[in-house]
Symmetry: C2
Subunit: 224 residues, 2 copies
DNA sequence: CTAAATGTAGGCCATGCGGTCGAAAAACAT
DNA sequence: ATGTTTTTCGACCGCATGGCCTACATTTAG
């Protein structure tokens, strides 16, 4: 059983008894919950309904999770982790910051295209961070790292002489913003935007916006 | 009294008896509801809580609105109308498509900065469109017009020879996406992004991305 | 084989919700 | 003043939800 009212204040941090079936069930529940949320909205995704989707009893969820809140928290974590893992692997395969930046954008859109439910659910969940504090916390633990990743690419590119002189932090926010903004429209209506075209437009635009007019410094970068 | 169960199927379409106090109350309720939603989240913004914020009884809301759904609908309408009116007026003051485009972006950010609650509430509400159909409807009636506006500017600019050759629809989606994406980060954490800097970065980027390398055709456009 | 643990089911409950109702109050017309 | 209409109030209802509890099933350990 998952730890609930342990003497210490710690919540479900005890991942000790990770029975195979335990973790499997958790993943299964998280998966079905994402599907349910994406299909019916977070508000309609009650424990009963999620349980229905999985084909189990409601209390099974209560057994494996400390409550609805923890389930949603885990969903968020899972969604972000899955996306980030994919993007980072793609970026790392490239050498040279311009290529890495392009890979970041393209990977973001590629992952979207194949995991629509993830993002529909994500947008639904975004609206559930009631307090400003919760919003800030989410931003700090989940959103900011993405910007930092871009920022590091940009900064490195500047050092290499591939990129012109700009404020890495601001441009990183702008780039991530553009990606998420297009994603948002696509979540509202799949047919409203063409992901591939937007991706192409964005990569071209960011290339233009970051390129160093003086050309690169050392070896990397051919100014393609 | 607002029409509720009129013989005909029409809902609250009878805006006939727009008593001064009636419309005043509605605006008041909408305002307070936005504040409540922005402060506590849509889920926590129950009729009781909103009524508390206004300082009236719960049933007053039920009296002036046909239900919670209609209230939220009106909130969405009000939020978008307010924002669009501001942006459009700014755009129309400019002559020349490059200037209009810049005005669109700058006005978007300027309005944000002065109406944070509006956007926090908006993001919360975004997550409440349960079904895919509701999402599509929102996109069609509220979101798409914004893109169309940008699109018309871009298309006109191409005709004038101020802009290069691109797909107006796609670039419009990209521009609106970039604005909303940055807005989203700012909603999560006010301190996470610098709106003014992002606005500057975006205007510069879009200018670069739209400019016609061959220069303008007729009179308008100085290639500043 | 048996006993302890782990996992599951279904019913139960307190809570808070949106919405309704009739009476009271306020605004208005005459 | 008086009657009429518009607006407000507080109590109330039915309902869905998240969480809890007890009993039952299944797996694991000795």
């Amino acid at each position: 059983m998952r730890s609930k009212n342990m003497p210490d204040g710690r919540k479900s941090s005890g991942r000790k008894k990770s029975t195979f079936i335990e973790e499997a069930r958790r993943r299964q529940i998280v998966r079905s919950a994402i599907t349910t949320i994406a299909g019916a909205g977070l508000a309609q995704a009650s424990l009963a309904r999620i349980a229905d989707e999985v084909g189990i009893s409601k209390s099974v969820i209560s057994y494996h999770f400390d409550g609805r809140d923890e389930l949603i928290e885990e969903i968020v974590t899972a969604l972000l982790a899955e996306s980030n893992r994919f993007i980072r692997s793609r970026v790392e395969q490239e050498s040279g910051c311009p290529a890495k930046l392009r890979a970041y954008v393209e990977a973001s859109f590629a992952f979207m295209a194949g995991h629509r439910d993830n993002f529909v659910a994500m947008v639904d969940i975004w609206g559930s961070f009631g307090t400003a504090e919760a919003k800030r916390a989410f931003n700090a633990t989940a959103y900011d790292p993405c910007r930092r990743h871009i920022e590091s690419i940009l900064r490195k590119g500047q050092q290499d002489g591939d990129f012109r002189d700009f404020t890495p932090r601001t441009l990183a926010a702008t780039i991530q913003g553009a990606i998420d903004g297009v994603m948002l429209q696509w979540v509202f209506d799949e047919a409203a935007v063409d992901l591939a075209e937007c991706a192409a437009e964005l990569t071209a635009m960011f290339d233009l916006a970051t390129r160093n007019p003086a050309g690169p410094d050392p070896v990397t970068g051919d100014g393609r």
